[in-house]
Symmetry: C2
Subunit: 369 residues, 2 copies
């Protein structure tokens, strides 16, 4: 039996700096997890990720179930061996992507039937099936199968919440491996009473961590922040909180300010493949003609491989020439920006100056964005 204990080392306001123990090592929180949808963080090697000192990475159950198949990955020794990543991995439940990516899907009280976006074949995922797939994949953190409703549809959110709670309980029962931490997912749209109900129900299952789902799906920023504050107030404080699909620098800061410990997002890797760099002051369009002869790096405060060794002019050239190296070097830079930001946030919390750090960051970020 593995322990997934979460220790809070320091607090400032709602912000927390902690350590989450997993079978593949300790995670220092708050943290940002790069996304490796198909068992690879797009355009970088595991060795480059290690050099960036990434802790947790995410992989997607829906994609890996369809291709190459969770049983194939299990035969090959599990996801850590498959993708050559010895540090902690988190897999989602497949639910969100079934709802958003699969060609057609039909939700019932027992689960979801859908058609593959790859070949149109029909599949069904239930809570038990989601756990089976995630046990075959073998990540350190796995997610309960949930349903995410339209944020402004009360009736749909009530149904989604019934499913999410019943399914979470079935996931707990279906789980057989002791070396994986099952996180519950709080739903409820923009409705405070539903959110509180969801926190109460899932907290009663005494899970090792909780995700806040159904955010960044169309609601306003103000609503997002209000829900985070509400959920923070009601959640057990000794469990890590994971805000799914959020990763812009300003959202990381405001999330940590509201008690979030774990974030993931495709943003830094996706922007990199679309010639956009993330710096500590805003976004940079690397194709901009102003960089034609620019000797300095993209961000002269950055310590990454890209900024240490390459001029902005070279990166612009790679972008215009459509070279793969552009994606690799910008991915390294963007991930370094977010990973370093999270380490700086953590240090600021521990040293009691997070409020100033956050205010200063947001002031400079908005100015240049």
């Amino acid at each position: 039996m593995h322990s997934f204990g979460y220790e809070i080392k320091s607090r400032q306001g709602r912000a927390r700096a902690g350590i989450f123990h997993t079978p593949h090592g300790d995670l220092e929180t708050p943290l940002f997890a790069p996304v490796g949808t198909q068992a690879t963080i797009k355009s970088v090697t595991p060795s480059q990720l290690e050099e960036l000192n990434a802790g947790l990475v995410l992989a997607n159950t829906y994609h890996l179930y369809l291709r190459p198949g969770d049983e194939t990955i299990a035969q090959l020794g599990g996801l850590h061996t498959f993708m050559h990543w010895d540090r902690p991995i988190l897999t989602d439940s497949g639910g969100f992507q079934v709802f958003s990516l699969a060609n057609t899907r039909k939700i019932d009280a027992e689960g979801v039937t859908f058609k593959s976006h790859i070949d149109g074949s029909t599949h069904r995922i239930t809570p038990e099936k989601s756990i089976l797939i995630q046990e075959n994949l073998g990540a350190d953190i796995i997610m309960a199968f949930d349903e995410c409703g339209d944020p402004y549809d009360l009736e749909k959110n009530q149904v989604a919440l019934r499913h999410t709670h019943a399914w979470a309980e079935r996931c707990v029962k279906a789980k057989t491996r002791s070396d994986q931490a099952l996180f519950g997912i709080i739903q409820g749209g923009v409705y405070p009473e539903l959110r509180i109900q969801s926190v109460d129900y899932l907290a009663s299952l005494d899970l090792p961590g909780y995700a806040i789902g159904g955010l960044s799906v169309g609601e306003t920023k103000q609503e997002t922040l209000a829900i985070l504050e509400l959920v923070d107030t009601y959640l057990p404080e000794n469990k890590p909180r994971y805000l799914m699909g959020v990763g812009s620098p300003e959202d990381l800061i405001t999330g940590v300010q509201r008690g979030v410990d774990i974030f993931d997002c495709v943003l830094p890797t996706r922007l990199a493949r679309h010639h956009t760099a993330i710096s500590r002051t805003g976004r940079i369009n690397v194709a901009n003609a102003r960089y034609t002869s620019e000797k300095s790096p993209l961000d002269d405060t950055c310590s990454c491989y890209t900024c240490r060794n390459f001029s902005s002019a070279y990166l612009r050239h790679l972008v215009l020439a459509k070279e793969i190296l552009a994606a690799t070097l910008l991915t390294i830079h963007n991930l370094n920006t977010l990973l370093t930001l999270m380490r700086d946030i953590r240090f600021a919390i521990i040293s009691g100056r997070f409020n100033e750090f956050a205010a200063d960051f947001l002031e400079h970020y908005e100015k240049c964005a």
Copy 2:
């Protein structure tokens, strides 16, 4: 004044193992140079290339002249700084690519007028212009501007040879930098008398090295090998010989057997982007269904990052999922195969067992190809 002396350390038959001195370090020959057409070896970082212990890399004058421009690269400190490669670089003259890539081109006795494949703009390259561009780029080895005729057209080869020789002499006169070695290019199609004439003329210029051009452009393998033997017989032996555009393992072996010291080719990097691995026994289609659950690496005799850490099944998954990492990992493997092969060839020559090595290699390579 830099010395570009070539020292032959060991011989076996026509095969030579030597050291070529350049301002960016010594090159151990025979060697294979990866191609970085647009100032990047496609899909790998300079750091990954260093880990592979690549010596010389090639970049293309035609491409870099058009984008980002040789003057821009000069302002940024030259090609070594621009692409962050501190080891030796070779640039071609632009001639071959103008002839094969530009939309329309018109050759006269003074040079070539052509249209850019990027934007259709009109440009003119003369021998003097080619040297000026290559001096702006600042590679260690630069090439004389030449004309490559149809291998079987005697009359065209006679004209091309007149141009090639007159242009080589103009390149020598135009050259101003002492830290670049200008290589001449031997032309003459499949015609022994033209080839001998070309060797004699270019040898009289006492250049620091010689390329054998106009091969692998449509003639038979037997004709290629016959011309290599002929050229080897007539070339001054204390100068390195460079066979342009050749890089399949069997051609490296048969080239070294005929006195070639330097090779370059896009083959290993291009095959990698088309899911093909090169092993010591032949080519591997990584998408093959036989690798679906294959735990072993692509090549269990290979010491590269890819083969040390990833199963064939994972590589097949990346290929099918169209992930960029497939190109990176296969490029690392393919380059390692050729770079290691060249080091093994060199060691075999020095230890007097190259004939056995070559026979053994060719026997096993052809069996499984």
